[in-house]
Amino acid sequence: MKYVDEFRDGGLAENLAARIKAEAQPDRTYHLMEFCGGHTHAIFRYGVQDLMPDNVKFVHGPGCPVCVLPVRRLDDAVELAERHGVILCSYGDMMRVPGTKQRSLIRAKADGADIRMVYSTIDALKIARDNPDRQVVFFAIGFETTTPPTAVAIRQAEAEGLENFSVFSNHVLTPSAIGHILESPEVRDLGTVRIDGFLGPSHVSSVIGSEPYEFFAEEFAKPVVIAGFEPLDVMQSALMLIRQINEGRAEVENEYTRVVTREGNLKAQKLVSEVFELRQSFEWRGLGEVPYSALRIRDTYAAFDAEKRFEISEKQSREVKSCECPAILRGVKKPTDCKLFGTVCTPDNPMGSCMVSSEGACAAYWTYGRFREPQKTAKEKASKEVAA
């Protein structure tokens, strides 16, 4: 229990760990998927997995926004900057993600494309105001927390008549992705990912509320517990899931009532639905095409849609060969199953999206898990590959 020392309340953590051990029935296994990168981070940072009995396992889900963006959309963004000569504004997390032939936004920028890292859509609007003779495109990514800010920016651009501003929308929806993980034949065929319950995301749920998960819990008969991102929240939520599984319940429970309500932030939801509508289908890295899982800009705001303003060419996009991000994002493989992990691929030199953001599973393994995993696995595998 050495990691308990790192909890602010070690006693509470120990109690929770004891309860979990007592209540997890030895003849069953509990595979709990945490969807949100914030949870992945907490689980690794505090060694929460080590406090669980062997039959309670965390499966890391696709909840890191830069990780799930398919390479083609990143290549499209690079094309906007390079071929159409726009000023491309991007959140910092996206800058180092390798695209096809490992071309990231940072590389394109080094080669002369005008790509600027912004913290907020507010900054992107300012860049558009300051450069009236240039086209400015905001590269919008993320789940339900970043969508309302993008919606606000589009409305603001319209109100100001900012004609040189548009948005390349890649916003995706959490509940549909969770559903897809359970539903898709591809994911089922890949087999090994068994999920008995979900830890629902913290801050995403503060926007959408807990209600959108209700359909899902019922439809798929899997329990969902919305969890705060403190390690104690994660443990408490795991216990709540174990209890539901033991009792055969599949309900939405909210451990994070400090912040999340059933209905969420209605004002933000209203803004989003004014500006965005569902896409019929959107590609996710790792999950493939997922029906109704993303948002596009409504026709009323077509003037601010970069996909309508610029012609984006068809292209053959490819991930780095042997990068296992897709399987990792589905929860089928672990970072240490990737032969590039920790050898060729590190946070300083990422080969795949999961190694870029601190919320990515590979980056979390590298930073916190590396010395706890049987250290040799990655290296042994790499040398075996070389020898083979």
């Binding site: 907020s120 927390t145 309302p148 953001s357």
Partner: protein
């Protein structure tokens, strides 16, 4: 980047903007996504927008945790705009 960081509102400005104080740093953010924000409120900030109001206790807890987990510095750098 799916984490939001708590901060205290210290001034309200025109166009639904506000100034928040965060570990001694002042930052201008938008409060357009919330109703009736008041000076002294604690809000969760994400990519320059207040997403949610939180209690002062929750704010303190979250900040302490983020500091401990080593992500506070990272988030602050992002907010104050230093290059990664």
């Amino acid at each position: 980047m799916c984490l939001a960081i708590p901060a205290k509102v210290i001034a309200l400005e025109a166009n639904d903007m506000a100034v928040v104080a965060l570990e001694g740093v002042k930052k201008r953010i938008s409060v357009v996504l919330l109703d009736e924000v008041a000076v002294g409120d604690y809000v969760l900030i994400h990519v320059g927008y207040a997403l949610h109001r939180v209690s002062p206790e929750e704010a303190a807890r979250t900040l302490a945790l983020m500091a401990e987990a080593g992500i506070l510095k990272e988030e602050l750098e992002e907010i104050t705009g230093s290059e990664a």
